[in-house]
Amino acid sequence: MRAVLGLFTYVDALLEAAGRLKDSGYGVTIFSPIPLGHEIEHTLGGRKNHIRYFAFFGAVIGFIFGVLLTLGTAAMYVLPRGGKPIFSITPTLLISYETAILFGVLISFIGFCIFARLPYYGKKIYDDKVGVDSFGLLVDNIRDNKIGDVENILKEYGADEVKRVEEK
């Protein structure tokens, strides 16, 4: 499908253009060299934060893993040591604390990879300039007879460069 990429110098101009195009029913993606979280939320609405479930369940799974590892292995081979308890609470909690955090971090990282769809090494629409000092606005979901209109809107809002790109 055809898409149009506009490169902007100023973020407010880009966001105004993005807001108008989104309201008109186009799909918009914003590229930026810095995070624009609040600014984008303000114009285009907020996003959900699913990572928190990954962080929470990661930590819970890690904790259970720690408990099973310490108590379970003690049960597998009962080895009395100088009157010390076979199932000891403090070390169990300590090890479980560490594994809870470790699993929380690892599973949050996996969550990030799933939602951000990374790693991806294939070809996707991208312009090197958005890693430096340009802000990109990719508009897709455009009918063929509307491409000219979209390009004009982008230029009207002050895009420095507008180009047609091919979406996979």
Partner: protein
């Protein structure tokens, strides 16, 4: 009022200049860099690698370890390096949560410092082992007779805490660098292009990617803070859970955590002074950064001194002969007394100079104070171990410990090993955070905001 300075005190500049400068630090190396790298590799091999090989081949008898002192300078180095590791990731996470602007220029190198010092510390565990090839015995793995680890041993807590900390620090460092690795990917050619394409995971800087990055990063920061605190508490319990006079103190966990943040912050100051000069990045690491780090050092110094005083006081207040003996041995018996009072001078009195703004803004005095603090912190760890174990309960078992040349050489080598890792890091990794410095510069807006 419009100002030309950013929130963190840097001069504002075009975004492109940040990319140019950071890529330059990675791709342009002078003769001095190669000399430093060659020197650090050589010293690491000669002072660490070879004596360690000799120790493995000959046995632990080549060290000064002898009954009743089986923990010596190796474990002092282990705690020292774990301590140095503390400020990087922990400070970065705390400053991220509190949204402190001056974090942005320094945190990347600080996090790298964490990772490399944990690595150096971890290798000391191997050096300390008589049979390092049996290291895997400390890792839980299924085995035929179901004979698992003894999880009630503080040394096992260590294995878990440090592996979790090392893994999490590595992820924290890598994760925060992904957008910068992509920025570098777009600028370089040849083998570097392939390397950074692979490392950047295909990052394009879309709004969705930034959204998930910032959410996940916040969780990482939240996870890292309690983890870092637990790691050094657990390291302290290696000692505090024993019954040795001078070691079995309940104050050890906070004492170690505060000491670790203290030495780590001093490590950051030392590193920043060297980095900004050698990489010519003075405009990113400004006097304002040193001013803020100076205040942090001052606060940590006061905290550390207070806990240090308490540690001595509680021992003295208990008034048991064993406890008194270990205090006399540490504080009044040469050569340890010289070391102890030097530590008090460098870590309690010298940092008081940081009360003055002029001192905090002086690079050279900051460097001297930070180096002094780390000398003091190394002494602290050394004294904790080597003045407690030789004076246990029964005087007929007393035996003084002095490190042998092998132990001293490996200690020197560890500093070279750390330097080598860091020198490689500055060429392979963006040592400044490109996107966060840009955030500090501000978002380019056509219409000026009202405030």
């Amino acid at each position: 009022m419009a100002t030309n300075l950013t929130e963190s005190g840097m001069e504002k500049m075009p975004y492109k200049e940040v990319n140019d400068d950071v890529v330059r630090t990675m791709t342009h190396s002078g003769k001095g860099y190669y000399i430093a790298l060659a020197l650090s590799i050589s010293v690491a091999v000669l002072a660490w690698g070879l004596p360690w090989a000799y120790q493995i081949f000959t046995g632990q008898g080549v060290t000064g370890l002898h009954s009743p002192v089986y923990w010596g300078i190796y474990l002092a180095n282990f705690i020292f390096w774990i301590g140095i590791s503390h400020s990087g990731t922990l400070l970065s996470a705390i400053l991220f949560i509190t949204q402190t602007p001056w974090r942005r220029s320094i945190y990347r190198s600080a996090e790298a410092m964490t990772f490399f010092s944990v690595l150096t510390a971890a290798i000391f565990v191997f050096v300390h082992m008589g049979r390092p090839w049996n290291f895997y015995w400390t890792i839980p793995y299924p085995n035929q007779r179901q004979l698992w680890l003894n999880f009630q041993s503080p040394l096992m807590f260590d294995v878990f805490a440090i592996s979790a900390y090392m893994t999490s620090s590595m992820i924290f460092l890598y994760f925060g660098s992904i957008p910068d690795l992509a920025a570098v990917r777009d600028r370089v050619t040849g083998w570097r292009k392939s390397l950074y394409t692979w490392l950047a995971l295909g990052w394009r800087g879309t709004d969705a990617e930034w959204h998930w990055l910032s959410k996940a990063y916040t969780f990482f920061a939240v996870f890292i803070i309690p983890l870092a605190v637990s790691v050094h508490s657990i390291v302290s319990w290696d000692f505090a859970l024993s019954k040795v006079p001078g070691l079995n103190k309940t104050i050890f966990a906070p004492y170690f955590v505060v000491g670790a943040i203290y030495s780590g912050s001093a490590g950051i100051v030392t590193l920043m002074v060297i980095l900004r000069k050698t990489l010519k990045i003075e405009k990113y690491i400004t006097l304002n950064h040193f001013d803020k780090l100076g205040i942090l050092l001052l606060v940590m110094s006061l905290l550390w001194s207070y806990i240090n005083f308490l540690e001595v006081f509680t021992g003295w207040y208990a008034d048991t002969s064993f406890e008194n003996e270990s205090l006399i041995y540490r504080m009044l018996t040469p050569p340890f007394a010289y070391m102890f009072w030097l530590m008090i001078f460098t870590n309690t009195f010298m940092p008081l100079l940081l009360i003055f703004r002029k001192v905090r803004s002086s690079i050279i005095i900051s460097l001297i104070i930070s180096l002094g603090i780390n000398v003091g912190m190394w002494i602290e760890r050394y004294l904790i171990i080597v003045t407690s174990l030789p004076r246990k309960f029964l005087p007929y078992a007393w035996h003084d410990y002095f490190p042998s040349w092998v132990e001293l050489s490996i200690t020197v080598g560890s500093f070279a090993f750390f330097s080598m890792l860091f020198l490689l890091f500055v060429k392979f990794w963006p040592s400044l955070s490109i996107y966060e410095i840009k955030e500090d510069i501000g978002i380019p807006m056509q219409k000026e905001k009202g405030h």
